[in-house]
């Protein structure tokens, strides 16, 4: 693990000022649960860690009548148990509760999960392992160990909150030293395994999530080997509006969360599945076999379609209260 200086920022302004001063040579830490793993495997070697966890006004859930705001430092445990979140849409709590383990959820944050680094079986390894395997595109090489290609990195976006929140049309608040702005959550991501996050942008901090839309029905499903600990191999989240419009977001199988949606009257399963297949750039970079994961995209979409229908009801699905 590389040595790093460690600063606990007392305020957002201090954190942003530090970031600007050390631009390109620092890493933000919120819960640190993803960062520490990457530091241990020497995938992250920034000489400065700016700890955001002490910034008081970045946490907590604020519920209004027509809107819900989630501070970026809200822990996943808080999200999973927050009554306000459950009232808004239980899918958010379900998604949070599906991440990591109870201990990790007490530390890991909402913002950190949205910005969790993309993963690949051939990349998320120790320095010695990567040295033995030869360099990959993401590890200062010129060939992808998965596909043998030299253009595209297909590392997987593995945030489990992102699919749920994108399906719910969440927006994010981004702040840098000069301005505050808002963006659709899906615009945070790029379909580029090397640079999977377009936002929050250079030396900016994601400070909060805003929700203003409540669907009529929702469905959340996650594929993994065990019912705890594991990163997702496939996450499918869907929301259906009263008018029949459907937004489905798929995580874990492509470089970014994949949004497939259909307006009122247009939604049908074959079209959604075809769009998902077209958009998901799924390669053999997870411990579950590629053919199985592709197969499960179809299976999950089929189940989701059923559950979003009028009569569907299951533990991981439901009607918004």
């Amino acid at each position: 693990m590389a040595e790093a200086a460690y600063v606990v920022a007392g305020s957002l302004e201090e954190a942003l000022a530090l970031a600007e001063t050390h631009s390109g040579h620092y890493a933000f830490a919120a819960g640190g649960t993803d960062l520490q793993l990457r530091r241990q495997q020497e995938l992250e070697a920034a000489p400065l860690i700016i700890d955001l966890s002490g910034i008081g006004d970045l946490g907590g859930v604020r519920a209004g009548r027509h809107r819900l705001e989630i501070g970026a430092l809200t822990t996943l445990a808080e999200l999973a148990t927050s009554a306000a979140v459950r009232r808004w849409c239980p899918m958010i709590a379900e998604a949070a509760a599906s991440i990591g383990t109870p201990v990790l959820r007490m530390t890991a944050t909402a913002g950190g999960n949205l910005l969790v680094a993309n993963r690949c079986t051939w990349y998320n390894q120790s320095a010695a392992w990567r040295g033995a395997a030869g360099t990959c595109l993401r590890n200062s090489g010129d060939t992808c160990l998965v596909t043998g290609g030299c253009g595209q990195c297909y590392s997987r976006a593995v945030s489990d909150l992102a699919p749920a929140l994108i399906a719910l049309q969440a927006r994010v608040v981004l702040r840098d030293a000069h301005a505050t702005r808002e963006a659709a959550l899906e615009d945070l991501y790029l379909a580029d395994g090397l640079h999977p996050q377009a936002q929050p942008g250079k030396d900016a901090i994601l400070t909060a999530l805003r929700l203003a839309h409540r669907p009529e029905r929702w469905c959340y499903r996650k594929l993994r080997r065990r019912d705890s600990v594991d990163y997702t191999s496939l996450t499918v989240a869907g929301a259906r509006d009263a008018d029949g419009g459907v937004r489905v977001c798929i995580g874990g199988v492509s470089m970014s969360p994949i949004l497939v949606s259909a307006g009122p009257g247009d939604a049908n399963l074959p079209a959604l599945t075809a769009e998902a297949r077209r958009k998901c750039k799924t390669v053999d970079n997870d411990l579950l076999p590629l053919s199985y994961r592709r197969n499960m995209i179809d299976v999950f979409l089929e189940e989701l379609w059923r559950e979003l229908g009028e009569n569907g009801h299951e533990r991981r699905t439901g009607r918004v209260p």
Partner: protein, 762 residues
């Protein structure tokens, strides 16, 4: 009345371990401690052409660097094939093999310096799969050039009793299948750690996370060239082994060597990835098995052809090779019987002994084949098994001597408790029940090293303070052997448990015990402890009898008192101690155990011999999702004949732990390799079932009271695992009608089978 034996007793070290007070090897620290880090091979198979340590030597904080040529003496847990060296000497044989070691003032400095070591390799042809390794190749290509075989074959074991092929050909019913098992590893909690200290009196102390202090002691002497009497090996609190700490290891030898060279204490603590690279887990296995029975379900013969993938070194491999075959000859009467088992070297981290050593994979094959036969014969799978189980006091086809045998009671217990008769074959599609039995050795009757010493010795000491101290070399690795020894001594001496203290696994203080492997400690050290405590009791009784004018034989030891048969108090324990020690001082009484002579007169007759065998049965209930192929184990009923449960709490714990470990190998655990690199060398990616993946368990202890075990006890640490895996496989068949011949039974594999079934049915 004091009843130590048979009382559910929390393990002696439990409170210290769960409150963080227990000292593990990695917790030990000394002034001027150096830290060691390793440079490991990035090649699966390569010749070392050059090694340059100049830059590393100049790096800050570096105090010593060791390379292969510093420690060229070969070693291995089995004397038959010492093919390991502490570091690679002329070539590397797997990715992750240690090439050099740096001792520095901090672990970070050692790691940084290790990276400065330059090695020039000439890559050699890598053998990564058994099929390639079995093909003839020139000596210079072989992983071990000195091999007697024209290929990378390490060991071939064959045994035949009768003509199984002919019997199977003529059998009214016969099933055959090809089975594949992925390699799995122990995944214990505590990573390997060793601290070595060169003492002022020119002796060496090695504190290490080991299951086998005695073999480590001998190997240190051999490799370092030090006399045995100048080496002390201590095993501190240990966080799990399951066979993964039962070889003497390169890192232990290197750490000791660096202490010797620098005359400073040196410490080595593995990362989790290094634990995976060290491996010694269960061999990846391919097996063809044929099993037959007549129309009444009586077994007519068995033949198996087995190939196990040993990795780069031999470790326990010769034993594993035999166990894969010989441990199929129970718990049923199977005659004729034959097998060929071959272990091959490959360029992967070495495999070795793991809980249920050598018998877990073949047990899966046999029990699945039995289920298939039951189906063909139209018999209930429990009934078919009952018709074939061995009785007590018999010999198996290969002359393993069976004494006590509770397999029938085990089978009946799980059958009744699971509601088998009302539910098997009758649950809705997607739900199913499966059954399996098993058996295992209660200690290997043959020691690893042939010599005239007993297999274990226990001293029991009594001094003026009235405490009894048991000295044993046995390694408590979390299985509770210290607690067992205390229970045995307390039972014999009629003492409350708190009067008995245990000093164990310190080769300077404690007499030799061969170690915690092959499920031998309760049986062997328990018997030795019993014998030592009985001698002490006789001595005390004789002294008190003389003083009080009663017959020694009439004195009863109970509740910390000495009383006559009719309950008349003769002396308190403390009074008796003073009487007994008068004019002579402390007692140290000794007991020992050596297995009786047993077995047939043929090559390989010693394999699988044990003074007693444990037996067990499991029923599992599964829910299979036919859309995703996912299997959820809903509940497991286990029954185990451990002879007698000296500590029922520990036996239950071993049974539950075995169910959990078996569940992992059955459904989710496997070492995944890519060109010789372990892809999932972390607990994030090596999928041990978590608490939420673990089913409800119902465990039943069956006590057959073995005549040779201490108070009737046999083993309980390994035998309970064997039936777990096939009970799950057979339950999947009951649930959805497909047979899984490949482990782990992942959702992808189950789904592929279901698709195949759909295609067959059209």
């Amino acid at each position: 009345m004091t009843a130590a034996v048979g009382n559910p007793t929390p393990l002696r070290d439990a409170a210290a371990k769960v409150t963080g007070r227990a000292l593990y090897a990695g917790d030990y620290s000394f002034p001027a401690l150096l830290h060691v880090k390793f440079l490991r091979s990035p090649h699966a198979h390569a010749e070392i052409r050059g090694l340059d340590i100049a830059a590393a030597r100049q790096a800050p904080g570096v105090r010593a660097i060791a390379v292969g040529r510093d420690l060229p003496v070969t070693f291995g847990i089995l004397p038959i094939r010492p093919d390991e060296t502490a570091m690679a000497v002329d070539k590397v044989r797997y990715i992750g093999e240690i090439v050099a070691a740096v001792a520095a003032e901090t672990a970070e400095a050692a790691a940084a310096a290790a990276r400065l070591i330059r090695v020039e390799y000439r890559p050699l042809r890598a053998f990564l799969e058994p099929a390639a390794a079995l093909a003839p190749c020139p000596p210079e290509e072989r992983i071990h050039a000195a091999s007697r075989h024209p290929s990378n074959l390490h060991k071939e074991a064959r045994l035949r009793f009768g003509d199984p092929e002919a019997a199977l050909a003529g059998s009214p019913l016969r099933v055959a299948a090809h089975f594949r098992f992925a390699g799995v590893t122990h995944a214990f909690t505590e990573p390997h750690a060793t601290v070595a200290v060169w003492n002022a009196d020119d002796t060496l102390t090695v504190i290490s996370a080991t299951q086998v202090p005695h073999y480590l002691h001998r190997t240190l002497a051999k490799v370092l060239g030090l006399p045995l009497h100048r080496i002390q090996v201590k095993k501190p609190a240990l966080g799990g082994g399951f066979g993964g700490k039962s070889d003497p290891f390169p890192h232990e030898l290197i750490t000791a060597y660096l202490a010797l060279r620098t005359h400073r204490p040196v410490k080595c603590v593995f990362t989790r990835e290094e634990v995976f690279l060290n491996n010694r887990g269960r061999h990846p296995t391919e097996m063809d098995l044929a099993l037959g029975c007549d129309r009444d379900g009586k077994l007519t013969g068995l033949f198996a052809d087995i190939v196990i993938d040993g990795g780069a070194y031999s470790s326990f491999g010769v034993v594993t090779t035999y166990y894969n075959g010989v441990l199929m000859q129970g718990p049923y009467r199977i005659e004729p019987f034959g097998f060929r088992a071959r272990r091959v070297y490959t360029n992967k981290p070495p495999c070795g002994a793991m809980r249920g050593h050598g018998a877990v994979n073949p047990r899966y094959a046999v029990e699945v084949a039995l289920d298939m036969l039951a189906q063909e014969a139209g018999l209930d799978p429990c009934e078919l098994r009952e018709r074939n189980v061995l009785p007590a006091d018999t010999l198996t086809v290969g002359q393993l001597r069976i004494t006590s045998n509770g397999v029938r009671e085990c089978l009946r217990a799980v059958r009744a408790r699971s509601g088998w008769d009302a539910r098997h074959g009758k649950l809705p599609y997607g739900r199913g029940l499966g059954v399996a039995c098993g058996f295992f050795i209660s200690g290997s009757a043959l020691p690893i090293l042939w010599n005239r010493y007993p297999q274990t010795v226990v001293h029991v000491k009594l001094d003026f303070d009235g405490r009894v101290v048991v000295f044993s070399g046995a390694a408590d690795i979390g299985q509770g052997s210290d607690t067992i020894l205390a229970l045995v001594a307390a039972e014999i001496l009629g003492l409350p448990l708190e009067r008995v203290q245990v000093e164990s696994a310190d080769t300077r203080l404690t007499p030799v015990d061969l170690g915690s492997y092959s499920s031998r400690v309760t049986f062997m050290a328990g018997n030795a402890c019993r014998s030592a405590a009985e001698k002490l009791r006789q001595a005390i009784a004789a002294a008190v009898a003389a003083e009080k004018g009663v017959a020694a034989a009439a004195i009863v030891f109970r509740d910390g008192q000495l009383v006559t048969a009719d309950g008349q108090r003769l002396a308190s324990w403390d009074e008796a101690v003073e009487i007994a020690l008068a004019g002579r001082g402390a007692f140290v009484e000794s007991g020992h155990y050596t297995s009786p002579k047993m077995g047939g007169d043929f090559k390989g007759a010693g394999a699988g011999l044990s003074p007693a065998y444990s037996f067990g049965a499991v029923v599992s209930e599964v829910a299979v999702d036919p859309v995703t192929g996912r299997v959820r184990v809903v509940k497991v009923w286990g029954a185990h004949d451990c002879g007698r449960a000296l500590n029922p709490l520990a036996v239950e714990g071993q049974m539950q732990g075995s169910i959990h470990m078996g569940l992992g190998q059955a459904l989710s655990e496997e070492l995944v390799y890519q060109e010789g690199r372990i892809v999932n060398a972390s607990f994030a990616d090596y999928h041990i079932p978590t608490a939420v993946d673990t089913p409800e368990m119902d465990v039943t202890i069956v006590e057959s009271r073995d005549r040779e075990g201490p108070f009737g006890a046999k083993e309980a640490g390994e035998g309970p695992i064997h039936p777990v895996l096939p009970a799950i496989g057979n339950a999947i068949f009951d649930a959805v009608g497909v047979r899984l011949f490949e482990l782990p039974m992942t959702p992808a594999r189950v789904l592929a089978k279901l698709r195949e079934q759909e295609r067959r049915r059209g």
